[in-house]
């Protein structure tokens, strides 16, 4: 006990004010470097939530919750010796007594780190208040914007810089008509030149966002059509329901001013190269610090300062802070924007190469030095795939190729991209955490052969994530260079790729997982990677009912219970509605079932109806009623054929040239139940107007006067890709033959969970090769592929009908095998006339039933 007190007395107190991204990084670095051996660490934050990721703030509106934006597990701040004071603003710093003062009293410090960040600058404009004076900085700000947006149609962002455009995106994702008002004559005036700004404006306007340049807001008054009216200097005006100001940031230096630290010309605590203020016990890092008269509003330089201070406080050799590269790469409103180094070509003697594509509103500018040998900077709008290479050229002073312009020309010209092998050891791969190629190499040399492990060891790619592609390339290149074969094994149980396993199953006629594991794998159990993958291969090859005893343990829960598990553990049920065609009686039948079981219903994008909120034990009853009414399973739970969307075609539409519904029914009937590496979506349009959106599907069919055009390998989703025209004017039989071959070739050669689009992009020889295989039968596989498909088609059986016939299979559909009760923890609330899962914040709404004695 006494010895403890003795150590405590030797301990110094270190206080960090601010728990934003930079303050948090400093704490992380301090703990990692052993600071807790010398210091008790107190962290004060005026925000109520611990540090979160401001770079990805806009995802909060896209459904990410606050907790998932948090930068670390709560456990970091529970480390003994660390005290986090959330929601406790520091009111005053007493430098003489070395004390910070909060509403709860004073805490004495030995060393103090200011990481108070910045605040949004709102110009003094008459009438700006409440919902006409919103800002975009903290989660609380976002909540305020969301609340204001609830009754709004239109929203305006003042400020066309990086954050302003982020804010505009946020307004758009809240369903508002968004406008951006910028004082300067172009967007992103700091990062872009004139032409770049124009290209960005054109792209953003195409997305439906209004852009108003050279506008100075003078006052805000009541509007006529909308709530407010913004009056500009030139007598123009714009009406809107809410206004978000994003007109730049100011260093949050109020505490520093109060305790009379030296303040920079544009605000901010003046720091030297060691991040020390004019007080030898007070450091400042991040956006609240002013180095050489400049503020740094990006996360990477802030992290650099945090690392430097942490090292110094732990008596390690610290790299001085001598300015930062402000190069940045972003996706704003879905538009790629990149700015590197001297983007404006301000260096004396600098010369530029420019590439303009007005059709796609793309713009690229490469700035080189007077000698023409080195990159000074670049501007990219529309396509950031050039960014990594250009940044490496600039950061590492790599000599330019003979034709520098080739670096920004469209890549089909065969531009010499800088391979990972050409990078010097000193090249920075991850600028957030300052990870060089050299440190990646030494991690590999000390035995790291796994990308995930590399990331956690070096921290590379755990900041903004922008270096993910480059990191993977460097990693794989270095492994191969060391003679390590890059491990493409499915998992620890199979040293084969999915394609190789497919061939083994097919050639050796393997029909169970156990057989495959015994012959070609390791261990007796498998895992959640190989079991579903093999289950899918077996189904693609032999199409046995997935509820067969040997197959059940292979499936993910959705396939096991033939329904889609939702976040609260209940399932959604999707009966097949082929081609989106449904009779009134069947619609009524679905309605009757939905009503009886109180299911939330929603129309899906694939022209069918999803019924949500069923508990496990209800599924068999629901399905026997649906099957009784003539439905069969929709396979919405499987990596398999989902839907064939269609328009009404020549039957009803005055423009239709073929019967698209009939073709959709034929295709859906043929391929239903087909299991594949990933889900498959189809569509058939009855004319070139393409109302069924076939060009966004894995298989798209569009009617022509003479027959059908076939498109393949498109998809929507996270990375949309247009399908490519594969063959034209096909008759029915040829169309189906080509689709048979295409799908089976995909199933045979794709990687696990690889959609047709990614598979097609990875095919060497591209579309021409694929046409050769399918149309010209260059591999002599045509008949084999067709007969394999025919086997799957012949063996089709509705999995639910099969399961309902077998009491053994039904045994599994019990919430509790020893009790009839439903899961008592599942609760719903009513919303818009239906029920939905209760949210964690609403749990107080659950009625408490008091026992009456």
């Amino acid at each position: 006990m006494n010895s403890n007190v003795a150590t405590l007395n030797k301990m110094q107190t270190l206080i960090v004010i601010g728990n934003g991204m930079v303050g948090h990084h400093c704490v992380e670095q301090l703990i990692e470097r052993g600071a807790l051996e010398h210091y008790r660490l107190h962290v004060f934050s005026e925000e109520p939530m611990r540090a979160y990721d401001r770079v990805h703030l806009s995802e909060y509106f896209a459904g990410r919750d606050a907790e998932s934006l948090a930068l670390s597990d709560v456990s970091l701040y529970q480390t003994p010796g660390v005290t986090l004071h959330l929601g406790v603003p520091v009111l005053e710093i007493d430098r003489v007594r070395r004390q910070v003062v909060t509403a709860q009293g004073g805490v004495t410090y030995d060393k103090l780190v200011l990481a108070t960040g910045s605040y949004p600058f709102v110009p003094p404009i008459e009438g700006a208040e409440g919902e006409s004076r919103l800002v975009y900085r903290t989660l609380e700000d976002l909540d305020a914007i969301r609340a204001a947006a609830a009754n709004a149609r239109r929203g305006v962002v003042v400020g066309g810089g990086l954050l302003g455009l982020e804010a505009a995106n946020a307004l758009k994702s809240l369903g508002l008509e968004a406008h951006v008002v910028e004082f300067a004559p172009r967007l992103m005036p700091v990062q872009l030149d004139d032409l770049g700004g124009q290209a960005l404006k054109a792209q953003i306007e195409r997305l439906g966002v209004g852009v108003h340049l050279s506008r100075a807001t003078q006052s805000i008054s009541a509007g006529e059509q909308y709530r407010y009216r913004m009056n500009f200097a030139n007598d123009e005006c714009l009406e809107t329901d809410l206004i978000v100001f994003s007109a730049g940031i100011r260093a949050q230096d109020a505490l520093a001013r109060q305790c009379a630290l030296q303040i920079g010309p544009r605000g901010g605590v003046v720091i030297d190269d060691t991040c020390l203020s004019c007080d030898p016990n007070i450091y400042a890092i991040g956006e609240c610090a002013s180095w050489n008269g400049s503020l740094f509003g990006l996360v990477a330089p802030g992290y650099q300062m945090a690392r430097s201070v942490a090292a110094r406080l732990c008596n390690e050799v610290a790299e001085p802070f001598t300015g930062a590269d402000m190069s940045t790469k972003l996706k704003l409103l879905g538009v790629d924007v990149g700015s590197i180094g001297d983007a404006h070509g301000n260096t004396p003697g600098a010369r530029s190469y420019q590439f303009i594509d007005e059709t796609s509103a793309s713009y690229r500018r490469l700035v080189v030095d007077a000698s023409g040998k080195h990159v000074l900077g670049a501007v990219l709008v529309g396509d950031n795939s050039y960014y990594d290479t250009l940044l490496q050229y600039m950061q590492n002073g790599i000599a330019l190729p003979a034709e520098p312009a080739s670096l920004i020309l469209p890549s089909s010209e065969g531009a010499p991209t800088l391979g990972p092998g050409a990078l010097p050891e000193s090249a920075t791969v991850c600028s957030c955490h300052n990870v060089t190629k050299g440190s990646i190499c030494s991690a590999i040399d000390s035995g790291c052969t796994d990308l995930g492990q590399l990331k956690s060891q070096t921290k590379a790619c755990t900041g903004c994530g922008g270096c993910a592609g480059l990191l993977k390339q460097v990693f794989e290149h270095e492994l191969i260079a060391r003679g390590v074969s890059v491990d493409k094994s499915l998992c620890e149980h199979f040293a084969y790729t999915r394609q190789e396993l497919y061939a083994l199953v097919r050639v050796e006629g393997v029909i169970t997982f156990d057989e495959l594991l015994a012959k070609h794998g390791r261990g007796h159990t498998g895992c959640d990677v190989c079991k579903p993958a093999v289950g899918s291969i077996l189904a693609s090859c032999w199409n046995q009912p997935i509820m067969d005893t040997s197959l059940v343990p292979l499936q993910d829960t959705n396939d096991t219970f033939m329904a889609n598990m939702q976040k609260n553990g209940t399932y959604s049920v999707v009966p097949r509605i082929a081609g989106g065609e449904i009779t009134a009686d069947k619609l009524i039948a679905i309605g009757v079932v939905a009503k009886k079981y109180d299911l939330y219903t929603k129309i899906t994008g694939g022209q069918r109806i999803d019924l949500f909120g069923a508990q496990l034990h209800q599924l068999p009853d629901i399905w026997s009623e649906l099957i009784e009414a003539g439905f069969e399973t929709g396979h919405a739970y499987g990596k398999s054929t989902r839907t064939v969307k269609s328009c009404v075609g020549s039957t009803w539409c005055r423009y239709g040239v073929q019967d698209s519904v009939k073709m959709a029914l034929t295709l859906e009937d043929r391929y239903k139940g087909l299991r594949s590496p990933h889900k498959l979506k189809f569509a058939v349009s009855g004319c070139t107007r393409e109302c069924a959106e076939a060009q966004s599907k894995d298989v798209g069919v569009i009617a022509t006067e003479k027959g059908w055009n076939l498109y393949v390998a498109g998809n929507g989703g996270m990375r949309p890709r247009h399908a490519e025209l594969f063959a034209t004017d096909l008759d029915d039989a040829t169309l189906i033959r080509y689709i048979d071959r295409f799908l089976m070739f995909y199933i045979r050669t794709a990687d696990k969970l690889q959609r047709t689009s990614v598979w097609r992009e990875s095919l060497e020889g591209g579309l021409d090769y694929l046409k050769d295989v399918i149309i010209n039968d260059s591999l002599g596989l045509g008949e084999e592929l067709e007969s394999q498909m025919q086997l799957v088609v012949n063996r089709y059986e509705c999995e639910w009908a099969n399961a309902l016939k077998d009491p053994e299979k039904l045994k599994r559909f019990r919430t509790f095998v020893n009790d009839q009760r439903p899961d008592p923890d599942i609760h719903f609330v009513q919303e818009r006339g239906q029920r939905r899962p209760i949210m964690a914040s609403e749990l107080h709404l659950i009625p408490v039933i008091e026992e009456i004695a």
């Binding site: 620890e492 159990t525 553990g569 095998v817």
Partner: protein
């Protein structure tokens, strides 16, 4: 070290008070190489049955998934990772060791485990 030893000792049935065993369902209710769930005085216990395994063939862990807050563990997929038998949560796919309920990815998540045995065609769980 000592903590995991305690866990192991706790879940090994030989050290259980003989009066603590409680029958929860019959052996026929189990599904081979997969999970089912039983109701046990307010707790939800997921039972995983691996009839062909060399060592233990039956495991009992909490059905409650700490990450999602939903009662879904019994509907996860059994696997082995680096020698440990694990269950993957069906929602966010994190893995828990069947032996002691510890989580491979998130040390702060842990499932409660119960001693469990087959006794004359019945499944018995020991309640502390």
């Amino acid at each position: 070290m000592s903590q995991s030893d305690t866990q192991r000792a706790y879940s090994s049935s030989s050290l259980v008070n003989p009066d603590a065993w409680q029958a929860v369902c019959s052996q026929e209710d189990l599904v081979s190489n997969s999970g089912v769930v039983v109701w046990l005085d307010g707790a939800q216990v997921a039972l995983f049955y691996l009839p062909a395994a060399e060592g233990k063939t039956l495991y009992a862990v909490d059905n409650h998934d700490p990450q999602s807050g939903a009662n879904v563990i019994g509907r996860g997929l059994i696997g082995s990772i680096k020698g440990d038998l694990v269950i993957a949560s069906p929602l966010y796919k994190q893995h828990f060791r069947l032996e002691d309920g510890s989580c491979l990815e998130y040390p702060q998540q842990r499932l409660r485990v119960w001693p469990v045995r087959l006794n004359a065609g019945l499944v018995e769980v020991a309640v502390a």
